[in-house]
Every structure is written in structure tokens, then in C-alpha cells.
Symmetry: D2
Subunit: 315 residues, 4 copies
Amino acid sequence: MHSNEIQNKLKNPIRHAKITSNMSVDQLVREFDGCAFGAGRLAEAVDIYCEMLTENTTKFFGLAGAMVPAGMRSIVADLIRDGYIDVLVTTGANMVHDIVESLELHHYKGTDVTNDVELKNEEINRIYDVFLPEHHFTNFEEKMQLILGKLSKDTISIRELLTYIGKRLEDDNSILKSAADMEVPVYCPAIQDSIIGLQAWLYKESNPINVDAFADMHEFIDICFEAEKAGAMLIGGGVPKNYIFQSMLVTPGEFDYAIQLTMDTPETGGLSGATLDEARSWGKVGETARSVTVYGDATITLPIIVAAMRSRLNY
Amino acid sequence: MHSNEIQNKLKNPIRHAKITSNMSVDQLVREFDGCAFGAGRLAEAVDIYCEMLTENTTKFFGLAGAMVPAGMRSIVADLIRDGYIDVLVTTGANMVHDIVESLELHHYKGTDVTNDVELKNEEINRIYDVFLPEHHFTNFEEKMQLILGKLSKDTISIRELLTYIGKRLEDDNSILKSAADMEVPVYCPAIQDSIIGLQAWLYKESNPINVDAFADMHEFIDICFEAEKAGAMLIGGGVPKNYIFQSMLVTPGEFDYAIQLTMDTPETGGLSGATLDEARSWGKVGETARSVTVYGDATITLPIIVAAMRSRLNY
Amino acid sequence: MHSNEIQNKLKNPIRHAKITSNMSVDQLVREFDGCAFGAGRLAEAVDIYCEMLTENTTKFFGLAGAMVPAGMRSIVADLIRDGYIDVLVTTGANMVHDIVESLELHHYKGTDVTNDVELKNEEINRIYDVFLPEHHFTNFEEKMQLILGKLSKDTISIRELLTYIGKRLEDDNSILKSAADMEVPVYCPAIQDSIIGLQAWLYKESNPINVDAFADMHEFIDICFEAEKAGAMLIGGGVPKNYIFQSMLVTPGEFDYAIQLTMDTPETGGLSGATLDEARSWGKVGETARSVTVYGDATITLPIIVAAMRSRLNY
Amino acid sequence: MHSNEIQNKLKNPIRHAKITSNMSVDQLVREFDGCAFGAGRLAEAVDIYCEMLTENTTKFFGLAGAMVPAGMRSIVADLIRDGYIDVLVTTGANMVHDIVESLELHHYKGTDVTNDVELKNEEINRIYDVFLPEHHFTNFEEKMQLILGKLSKDTISIRELLTYIGKRLEDDNSILKSAADMEVPVYCPAIQDSIIGLQAWLYKESNPINVDAFADMHEFIDICFEAEKAGAMLIGGGVPKNYIFQSMLVTPGEFDYAIQLTMDTPETGGLSGATLDEARSWGKVGETARSVTVYGDATITLPIIVAAMRSRLNY
């Protein structure tokens, strides 16, 4: 920074947050706006997200982590239904748990302080402090084999398969169904790395099915090519973050907006924790793009950002 | 856990959070109540905090980290003024920055992506993304030397010194002044490890002053002895956490409530990241005490907890 | 634990590590054996790894993170060549950087304290403190298009594609070539999530190629079925960790040995940071399996473990 | 960076580490020298540490965390005895556990996966995976009351008190005794925040004792003033880090060398995780000083650095 840029920063004193009874989430975030550290970053994320959603932006949403088991399913489904997500890239696991819930099978609030061998004996699978009865996967298997059995063609892309599954779910709170209803494409590059993958293996043992790993790339890259502006809301890192960003390497464009909500820090050099500045060196994020990383548990920060955004955009 | 305890957990399905426009912070936290991971822990922290504040509890508040520079000063001062803190244990740094602000000298919202040698040349000290002009410390020095010069006795305790300073500040938003006004004792075991310490050194070069490091322990431990119930809200770890907890080693009691807001995890074995369960093995936290750790940036989680608590306690 | 189990722990006093000049890595690890926290876990990892390698174990190796750019390529290639890896599951990125190096194109030691827009203008891509000239990808493209162009069949699996590429590299330090030479299968479930994916897209624009995402699962699960004992060395989390573990959900077996080297902690509930105990509730890791997580930068911990293992196994 | 600085980085290709049987720790670190991420930083730390120890440097050592319970006591004691530490700043807890060990009372290797209420019933205190029988503190109390009872003067400084205690221990592996023997001053700004503090309180209930909190600052700052060059090896953050650095605010000098071994990252803004660059803006670390932060568990990284240093300095 130049000297005058540095001195300019001295025009913005920290404003100490005032907390009042019954304040709204948006009012809280406006208090955060004058604060530093995580609070300041969270306020900035809301600003960027609102601008990204009101400009003519193609809105990418990357969903990693175990967000569905943790209770974040409706938030994502509602964002899709309300037009705030144009392209969803996610992990197989989030889709598995979305399908499980759509079968009216629940995840349960357990505890992380437990004996996992006892849990196994009780036939309960644990995801941190979430308990999931093993027999839910029996119902999941029935549903999946039924769905796969009705596929009319042998060779499809992963996105097509997920749209096909979404259309066959009967739960409007489902992410996959919401996406199918709203014609939002769902990409899942590592789909075989999930219980959907295991079901596909089981099906494939006795039936022809060919899901072409690279088939989605043409349409995905086309979406990037055609975007007037591009924005990315990244929940966690992993495959969704990289897949969303890498497409810009072969298009002339760059992301104009990028927000990442993560607990991963840059120090170990992995892509999940890489800063959004690092992405500028690659041309994934634009030189003048607005971007911010909010370090923290996304089960806390995503709902706050969405609540404040909904207040501001009156929806 | 016994088998029936495990099976009982299967009575509480995860409820997926619904986010609406203009929802209040308390409503958001009530949505978190059905969620897992950080969201679930945050909701539990609000429950515990409200119970702790409404029971006949002696309320300890541990304040580590750079919370004052980040904009959290008023939150703490208001908690004191409203009777939600009975005993404050903090770091010297937070008190230094509180005094600086009380002199109408600001901290500024800078950036963490910068060249620190340039900052030094501009005489700006950096605290992550907070900028603090070096010359503020000149005013701080004047004030401190003036205050120290009027001490009527040579030998005092750290708590007495902080009360004495608090009384001489003229800013109702000050943590130290709020504590002095409300007769809330402020303990700061490592006071020499701060710029207050450097000022005391400067003063001591030509004036007699003796601040007895162990003088506060008698009254601090008496407070613990006399507590009907004891509750601890811990912001960060460090000295405040340990000092609050260790007193219970020499009293028959234990903490009945404990909440910690931290980014430190247990794996490196330090006390800052130690679980509240570990504290049970020492008898610091009671066997049946309610406790929860919220992992995340306290500049985000503390304001949320305080906002929800204020809504619930109508204040 | 039962009372006697607890009391039994009091038979193993902490032995304070003694450090001497010229001590070997193995001697250091033996000193760690008497220590706690990370040092103790690292010593345990070496014990488990040596047992896993000397028993009749099918040895899975999960490689996430940016280990190749960081300089860990030869370690993995040598483990393959020496028979210490039977099955490799990795990310596309690690394979991209392995191929780049095999073209005698280097990664460079840069810095993480930099201006990424300047880097972009210099056509340098940054991976934390590693610099990679953008034009290396031009050579990579030529090589990849050449290789893809010689594919004799249109429909292959990801594993077949990686073997095919590995055979066409001329660098014995290459992970892919070592795997091809040693007939070690390399699985990469998210291959399209990498620059290999972008090259496949480019090729596919004008040539027929169909890489079946689920084609590898049959042989992968067969390996799991046939394993007398199974062991997993997991570098980072991500897709490799989940893919290796999930296969055990459809086989009667479980992992008998599991080691993970990671910086991810369990608190946010994602699979990367999930404990190996959590994996027991799912039946991925066996009830009586030996397992340990070493929290720390794998560029430090993996070489230590390998050096100590090589000393103990005399190889 | 200027363009030529950036381009200059492209002269140092990453060298992929080669691991051999029976290699020494120093050889391993030399392999790390060509690597990036944590491995590269660790190699740089060894370089800086060796230069710092061979130049005419006043050598500060900051010891936070629970390093003594974890088995790191002899490493620190030996560094003192061999002249590699001139000034030690530490926490009360590390000194408590050092004294406990000097009474031939052990810490034990337990487990972090346990029920802390059961441990409490067995009268065992837990420090992550270290178990400490509660009755050790009875012996500790006897020893401390005996030592305090023989104090010849009522008013002493913390450093004097620790020297006094050190002289009365009969264990050459003790940090406190080694420091007393070698006339290395030990500073412990938050001494009352430890069980030594509780013992002082107990003693003070019926005996006069006055430990002046600010008494040590004169001599500590004098050491800083007189240092030709100054170097800091910081294990963890906390009070020791800040206390070592802040002294430079009132002296004309700055640290010429600084190494920190920590798991704390900068993102939450606390001093423990603050970068060493941030310290440059304050003038704590010099503009041209050599500094590096190694992110990782110090029970692993400290022994490696010490082993490599001892090999290089032939001692």
C-alpha cells in the first residue's frame, strides 16, 4: 500500500458493537460492520453477497462439509427456490443425506462424547454429534435401486443423473428436488465417493450403466463462458471450491465475487484453506473482484449471512 | 452411555433451520437449537447462559484475546452495567486498549494484507486488521503517569490499581470505568505483561510503588468460597480461563455453569484449548455442571449469545 | 474405562525426551515414545505403520492436499517402488503436478507474503509458498493431448486412464510412472476436478472419449473383499480418505490399521477432520483396530514416519 | 515484490525430499530445506536458530503450553545447561509441573478418550492425554510451604522467588534448578495464575510475603537494553511471547531473530497467533530481522529443531 492508502485507513475508526434486546440479525450484522476480525469479515460477506445477488451475476454455490446432516438443508433448498443459486456444486455425501431426509428418515442430535464401538453395536453411525441409524440406508438402497432401475438410457452424465433423482423425490425441502424443480444444475464431480457411488456399483453389477465423468464439463464451462458476471459462495473447500474455480482457467472471465466460509487456514498449503488472493494469481478470481473469507463454523455463519441478505433484499 | 441413553438420542431429530427476512437474533438461535455442530453448540450456550444469569449465580467473565481493539468493548461494559458480570478476569492488553479508547483515541479498521515495514514507517501498529497510531501511546503515557502519580499509598493490589484507574476515566463506555462504577472487581494476574506494565516500570524508576502479585488471591478465593452457585463465561483461554478455574481447586465448590468461546482445539494439550470435560477431572467444573464450548471467532459468537440472552431476559 | 484400566495407565510415566547431536530420526521417534500430545501420537503412528507393513496387509494410501508441489513426490514414489503401497487413492491435482514434474518442469520455492495481482502479471500461479510458471501448463497441455490422442479405446475407467498416462511418462521419480511400473492401481474419483479434467474436456470437444465414473468401483471393492488385513495411511482428508473408508461399508471386513496425518480437527463435523473412532461407529475401522491421528503438517510428519519406518524395517 | 524479485524466486526449484534408512534428524532437515509449506519453514527455523546461537545474541526463550507434562522438560533444561538460553520466560504451570517432577513424582501417559468424572473419582487430573494423580499436589504443597517458610525476606520479585525455589530442588533435570545453577533468570509474569500462586496464597494467609509484580521489569528491560543482538525462540504464544516482545517497545533495539512454534493461526486476531510480521509494525521485530513461524505441535517441532541444531553446532 502507498502511504496515503495507509493513512486513509485512519479515517475509519472501529465502532464498538452495541447489542440490544430483540435486535434483528441484520441489525447485528450492521453493528459488525464497524468491528474487526471475524465480525468485520462477516459484515463484509453480507455486503458482497447482496451485491452479487442483485447484479446480473451467474451465482455458483459450492457445498462441501456435512451441512445437510447438521441441519442446513432447508437453507440451501430455499436459496435455490428463491433464485439465489444458479449452479450448485456439491459432494456426494450431502446429496446422500438429502435423499435420506426426503424419505422421511431423520438424522438425530446425538453427542460427540461417546463410545463408537457401543454405537456400532446399536447400529448407529455417527457424524460428529449427529446420529444416523444404519437401517436408514436399507430404505435408501431400495429407493436408489428403484430409481436407477427406471433409467431410460445407459449413458448419462452426473448432472443428468442428479436431476433424474431429484425429479423422483417427493419432498419440497429437498435440495435435489428444489434444484430439479427450478432447473438448477447440480454438479458432483466425486459422486462415486459417496453411498450413491456404492449404490451405483451395486446396480452396475447386474445392469448396464455408464456415467461419463467428463460429460458435464462442456455445459459447465459453457455456463462460465456465458456469465456476464460470476459470483461464488463457497461453503467449505474440497472438490466444490476447486471445481467452481478451475473452470475459469479455460475461459476469458474471472470471478467478480467470491465468499468462502471455512475453518481451514492457509498454512498447510491445501486448496481448501487457500486464500482468495491466492486464487487471483491463477486468474480464478479477478484482480478487482470483491472477495472475503469468513473463518468459522459455516453452520453459524451461513445462516447469519442468509438472514441478513434476506432482510436487505426484502425476501 | 448405556444402550437406552443412546436410543433416547433418537428421539430428537435434527430440525433443519428456516431463515426468514427480518428474523431476530433470538429467533435465529432458536432455529440453531435443532441443528448440530457449531449451530447446536451456540444454541446450547444461550440456554446455559440464560440459566446461569437467572439463577443465584456468581458470574465470572474471562476476557482474553484482542476483543477491545476488535470492537467488543461496549458489549462487555454493558454486561457489567446491567449486572451480568460479578467478577472480571482479563489481560493487560484489553485494559490498555480500553484506556486508550477512553481518551477518545480510536483504533482503526485497517487490513491484514499489508507490508508491516511500511506500517512501521508510518508509525502505525497493527493488530491483525486493526491499525493503531503509535502516538496514541504518548497520550496513554501522560494519562497513566498522571494517574500513578496521585496514588496515595505505595503498596496496592492489582485489583485495587485497576479500580483506581477505572475511577479516573471519563468514559461510561469504558470497561474499567463501568467496573469501578458498579463495584465489579477486575483481576489481571499478568498485568506487567502489557503496556500498563511498561508504564508502571517507567513510574517505578523514580517513584516508590509496590503492586503485590499475590495480594488479590485472598479476596478472589473468598468470592469463590461464598458463591452459592458459580458460572464462568470464558472468551478465549489464556490466563483468565486458568485463573478463574484454578481457584476452585482450593474451595469445596465447583463451577455449575461454564461456557467457552474459542478457536483453540484440544489436540495440542494447552490449557486454552482444553475441553470443559477435562476441567471436570480436576474438580474445576462440577460433575453435573452444564457446560459447552463454542468453537469459532468470539467477535461473532459473543454478540450473538448476548443478543439472544437480552431478548430472552427482556433486558 | 474401568477403574483398573485407569489405574493401569499410572504404570507408564512420561519419559522426558533427551536430544543428542547426530541422533537418527528413528532415535528421535523412540524418544517421542515416552512423551504425550503430538510427539506421543507420532511415535504411535510409526509403531502402527511398521506393524501394518510387516503383517499380511493390503496397504491403502490416501494422498490429498498439495503434497507434490510441496516436495513430497519422491517419498510417495519410493514407497510405491519399495512395495509399501498396494493401492493409491489421490486427487487430480497431485497427479497434475506429478506429470508437470515428469516433464522436467519445476515448481519453485516462493513466498506466501506477496501480491497476487503482481504474480498474475508475471504469469506465476501460487500454491501457498510455491510458485508455478503458467507456461508450464502449455507443455502439460501438449503432452496430455498427445497422450489422449493415442488412446486405443473410447471407454475406459479412471484407473485405466491413469495407468495409461503413467506408462507414457519418462521419469522414474514420478508417482504415476512408479505406480504403472509396479502395477499399483491409482484411483482418483474426482479426476475431472483438476487440470487433467480440463484437458479431457478440451480433447472431448473434438474426439470421442468416455471415462466411466463408476467403472473402477468393482475392482476397488474386490480388493477390499480380498484383503486378509487392511491398512490405511491417510495424508489429509478429502475424497481419498472417504473413498478408501467407504468401500468397507459393502464388504464384511474393516480396516485393521489406520493412520491419518492432518491439520483438520473434528469440531466442524466434516469428514476430513472426523476422528478414526467415529469411523468405528460406521464399521469402517474395526473395533479392535490400531489407529492414530497425528495432528500437524504432513510435509513434516510423513517424512518422519517414513524415515523411522525405513530404519526399523531395514530398508 | 518487484518483478525481478519475483523472477528470482524461479531460480530455486522445489527439491523433492529423499528419505533413507537411518538418516539423522539433521539430514532430514536438510531434505526439508528444498521443500515448501511446513517442511520448508522447519528447515528455515533450524538455519535461523543456528545463526542466532552462534552470533553474539542474547537468547530469550518463551515457554508456554503444557510442555513439561508432555515430556519436554529435559530438552529445555539441557538447553539452559549448555548455554543456549540466556533468559527464560514461562508460565506458572510449566514451573509447577517441573517442581512436581523434581520431587520424583511422575506424570503418566493416559488417554484423551476417557470419562472425566470417572477420572475425578479415581483422583486423577487430566492434561489432554497425560494423567496426574491428585495426591502429587499434597507432596508439592509440603515442599512449597517448607521452601516459602525459609524465605529470609518478605519482599522479593518473582524472578528472585523462582531462583530461590530452583536452588532448593535436588534434580539436575529440573528447568528451575538448571536455571538457578546456570544463573539464567526465569521470569513468570502470571505466577499467581498457577498452583504456585495457590501455595503462595495459603502461605500468605498466616505469614508475611510480598511479591512485587513490577519488580522484575527493571532488570528485564536492562537485559534488552544491553543486548548487542537479540533473539527469541517462542514455544507457543501467551504471556511469554508478549512479555518478551513488549520490552522492545521501550528500548531502542529490536529482535534480530525470532522463531515461533505454534498451532495458533492469525485469523482470530489474538497475540498468540499473530504473525512475526505484525510484530515488525510495532518495532518488536526488526525490519531486516530473520524470522519464521512453524505451524505445528511444538512437542514435535522443538525436538527436531534442537536435534538438528546440536548436530550442526557439534554439541
